[in-house]
Symmetry: C2
DNA sequence: ACTAGTATTCAACGATCGTTGAAATTATAC
DNA sequence: GTATAATTTCAACGATCGTTGAATACTAGT
C-alpha cells in the first residue's frame, strides 16, 4: 500500500517537526516522536537511517518549497523593472513576504518548521552548516539583487545588513511570545499581517542608511 | 575553605555555561559538565538543586552585570541631554554598545554566555519566560526612552521595532559563522568592531522610518 | 586536640536513551 | 493462489541519563 507508506513516513516527519521545534534535537527522544506519530519505535529506523537523519529530513522537506516561492517572488519583482533596478524595499519584501504570508495563511502547517529554523539559525552547533547548506544559494541570489539596487554599497555593509535582516526575520519566526509580554498585549507575535507591513520598511531603511 | 568552595561552584558554572551554549540544555549531561569541571558528579547536586537549577544559575550569574552596564550607559546619554531628548541612535547605542564592547574586549569570558542568550531568546520553550524574567525591566526602561525620542510613534511600531532590534542583536551574539560562509570571508562574525559601528545606525534608521 | 560544619568521594537506583535483528504481517506481481 | 517484497511488530542490547544516601576528607572555632 504505497499510500500508507507515505502516510506513515509523513506522520513521523510531522511529529518530529513539532517536537524538535519545541524542545530541540536533543530534547526529544525517538520514542516520544514515535508515540506522537502513533507508530512503533522501530519504524523510525525503517524509514530513516538514524535520529540525525530524521532531523535532516525534517529540515529538507520544506526547504525546497521555500526557496522556490522566494525565487519566484524575486523574479516577479525584477520582471516589473526591466530597465531600472527594483528598490531595496521591493527586494526585501520579496525575501520576507512569501514566508510571512505562508506562515500567516497556513499557520498550523508551517509554524513548527519556522520555529525550528529560528532555533537552528541561532545555534552555533547547527547554524553555520545547516543554514548554509539549505538556503545560501537563494540568499546569494538576493544579495546580488541588493547589490544592484545599492551600487555604491560596500560588501561589508551589505553582508552585515543582511545579517541584521536574518536575525529580525528568524526571531519573528520563533514566535516566542516575548513581545506579547513586553508590550502588555498591545502587540501579538501571532499578528503576522502586522509584521508584513512593518518589517520590509524597517529593514530597507537600515540597508539604505548603512549603504548610502 | 571558603575560597575553594567558590572556586568549585564557579568551575561548574563555567563548564555548564560553555556546554549549554554549544549543545543546549538537553544536549548536555550533568556528567559531561562535571567532567569538564573536573569534579565528581555528585558535587553538581551539592552546589545546585538540579540540572535545571544549574541552568538557571548560569543564566542569572551574568544578567545583573549586563543590566547594570546598560542602565548606566542609558543614564549617561540622558545626562548629556538635560533639556532635549537623546537621538534614537544614541539610545540604541547605549542598549547595544556595552554588550558588544564587553563581548569584544573580554571575548573568552563572555562569548558562551552570549551564545546561550541567543539560543534562549529564539527558543519557544525558554524564550518567553526566561528572557522576560531577566531582562524585561531594563528593556522597558529603554522603550520609555525611545518613546520620548519618538513622541509621535505608535506603540505597535515601537514594539515591533524593538523586536527586530532584538533579533538582530541576538543573532550577532550567536556567532554562528554563517555570515562568514555567506560573504566568502569578507565579513567575520567575530569582528565586533565592525558590528558596533553598523548596528546602531542600521537599527536607528529602521525605528525612524517606521515611527516617522 | 576536639568538635561542628563544609566539601568531596564512592557506589548505586531505576528510567530512559539510540539502535538492532528476527519474526510476523500486509501489499504487490505473476 | 502463490511467491516476493515492503511494512510493521516484538523483544531486547548496552550505554547513559538525572539523582540520591552514606561514607570520607577537610576546614574553622574553641
Amino acid at each position: 500500500m504505497k499510500n500508507d507508506k507515505q502516510k506513515t513516513r509523513d506522520r513521523i516527519l510531522d511529529a518530529a517537526e513539532e517536537l524538535f521545534a519545541q524542545k530541540g534535537h536533543e530534547g526529544v527522544s525517538v520514542r516520544q516522536i514515535m508515540a506522537k506519530a502513533e507508530a512503533d519505535v522501530s519504524l523510525a529506523y525503517y524509514h530513516f537511517k538514524s535520529k540525525r537523519d530524521l532531523f535532516d529530513q525534517v529540515m529538507l522537506r520544506r526547504a525546497d518549497i521555500l526557496n522556490d516561492i522566494r525565487l519566484k517572488a524575486l523574479e516577479a519583482v525584477e520582471k516589473r523593472h526591466p530597465a531600472d533596478a527594483p528598490t531595496v524595499e521591493e527586494i526585501i519584501d520579496a525575501f520576507t513576504h512569501p514566508l510571512l504570508d505562508l506562515l500567516a495563511r497556513e499557520h498550523d502547517e508551517w509554524k513548527y518548521y519556522f520555529r525550528l529554523i529560528a532555533q537552528v539559525n541561532n545555534s552555533p552547533e547547527w547554524g553555520g552548516e545547516l543554514m548554509t547548506r539549505y538556503f545560501d544559494p537563494l540568499v546569494e541570489r538576493f544579495v546580488q539583487a541588493l547589490r544592484k539596487a545599492l551600487p555604491d554599497c560596500e560588501d561589508a555593509d551589505l553582508f552585515w545588513s543582511y545579517h541584521f535582516l536574518s536575525g529580525a526575520l528568524t526571531l519573528t519566526f520563533a514566535e516566542t511570545g516575548r513581545i506579547d509580554n513586553l508590550s502588555g498585549g498591545t502587540v501579538k507575535s501571532s499578528d503576522l499581517a502586522s509584521v508584513v507591513e512593518r518589517m520590509p520598511k524597517f529593514l530597507a531603511a537600515g540597508f539604505e542608511r548603512l549603504c548610502k
